[in-house]
């Protein structure tokens, strides 16, 4: 196999890297790809609980790198979604136990075993970030429509370009009602400021919190707008690069609201 290594990063913490990694990984696997998701947040692992796999961890990514186990032994198979594997972070080590050259070795192994490997990057731009981007082929930058988050995204985008990686953007936690009221940056504002390619738009959605409570995959919940947005992002990454990105404001437009007021039934926009 000749898989792709995609790093998911943001600069600022808490904007949705882990959510994106888990959901896009699950969605790609649902599309029939062999997928590994790796938690590169050494010392602060999270991806395992978001995916509901925390009780089955035996080995972790540091064990693989230090030769204590094989890559396959550390890869936990998801029981609900075929072809989805988690390689957890170590909880007891420091980020500095991994060196950039280890990542080159690891990513070469991943490329041979999987179609896609998604690396969940720690917040910040220090060692953990540098490790995660070291051998990546592509990058997804996640930001929320807030000044501080977009500014950090800009910094990270610059660092990625310096390594000849052209990142694509996911704007997460969009609240269409706030955008409409003029109290939140729109995705168009964000793209305008950052001038990079847009990979997808994800709304603020209670289902994300519910899914992380229970460890059940978000992308299997058909009524979740965020879940469906992640499925569409996975399609753009795999085989349908031109699938249009839909505006979360669609279906809430001025005229449709007027229509609603007049009692006309609203067509729900397909997302």
């Amino acid at each position: 196999m000749d898989g792709k290594i995609i790093v998911v990063t943001s600069g600022k913490g808490g904007v949705g890297k882990t959510t994106v990694t888990a959901s896009v990984g699950a969605a790609l696997a649902k599309q029939g790809k062999r997928v590994a998701v790796l938690d590169m947040d050494i010392g602060l692992r999270n991806l395992d609980v978001v995916m509901g796999l925390e009780n089955r961890i035996v080995f972790n990514v540091v064990d693989v790198i230090q030769g204590r186990c094989k890559l396959r032994q550390a890869a936990l198979k998801d029981r609900r979604i075929d072809n989805l594997y988690l390689i957890p972070a170590s909880q007891s080590d420091e980020k500095s136990v991994i060196k950039p050259q280890n990542m080159t070795w690891l990513c070469n192994k991943l490329r041979r075993e999987y179609d896609f490997a998604l690396l969940d990057c720690p917040a910040g731009i220090e060692q953990g970030f540098k490790n995660a981007i070291e051998a990546a082929d592509e990058a997804i930058v996640v930001c929320t429509p807030e000044v501080s988050s977009v500014r950090d995204a800009d910094r990270v985008i610059g660092l990625l370009y310096a390594r000849s990686i052209t990142p694509r953007l996911i704007v997460n936690r969009i609240v269409p009602q706030l955008v409409e009221k003029g109290d939140m940056l729109s995705h168009a504002d964000v793209v305008d400021v950052l001038s990079i390619d847009l990979l997808g738009l994800v709304e603020m959605d209670d289902a994300v919190v519910v899914s992380s409570n229970t460890g059940n995959p978000l992308v299997q919940q058909k009524e979740s707008r965020a879940g469906m947005a992640f499925n569409r992002i996975a399609m753009r990454l795999d085989g349908h690069p031109d699938l249009p990105v839909e505006d979360p404001m669609a279906g809430r437009s001025f005229w449709q609201k007027v229509g609603k007021k007049l009692g006309r039934k609203n067509r729900t926009a397909k997302r």
Partner: protein, 97 residues
Amino acid sequence: MTFHSLIKKLLNKPDSSRNVAKKRLQFALVYDKLEVRDDMLEDLQQDLVEVITRYFEIDRDALSLDIQRMEGSSALILNTPILAAKHRKEGGARAHA
């Protein structure tokens, strides 16, 4: 412009917090890119001294190099007393630099 986007434009008030956020962001990004690392300034100073001393005798200790920040722009200010101009041979100073 369609009627719809005109309505949108009218609804998008220039003083909404969304537009304030966008302006602040645009300024912040410009400002961030003007920031210079200290060690870069030191390297630049060394390189500049090397070039200048091909043409002038200067007092290295009196030389100062600074970034002066103004709102929205920055200037690089070099200040050095000149002790003497070097006499250049035909063919330029480069030859014996």
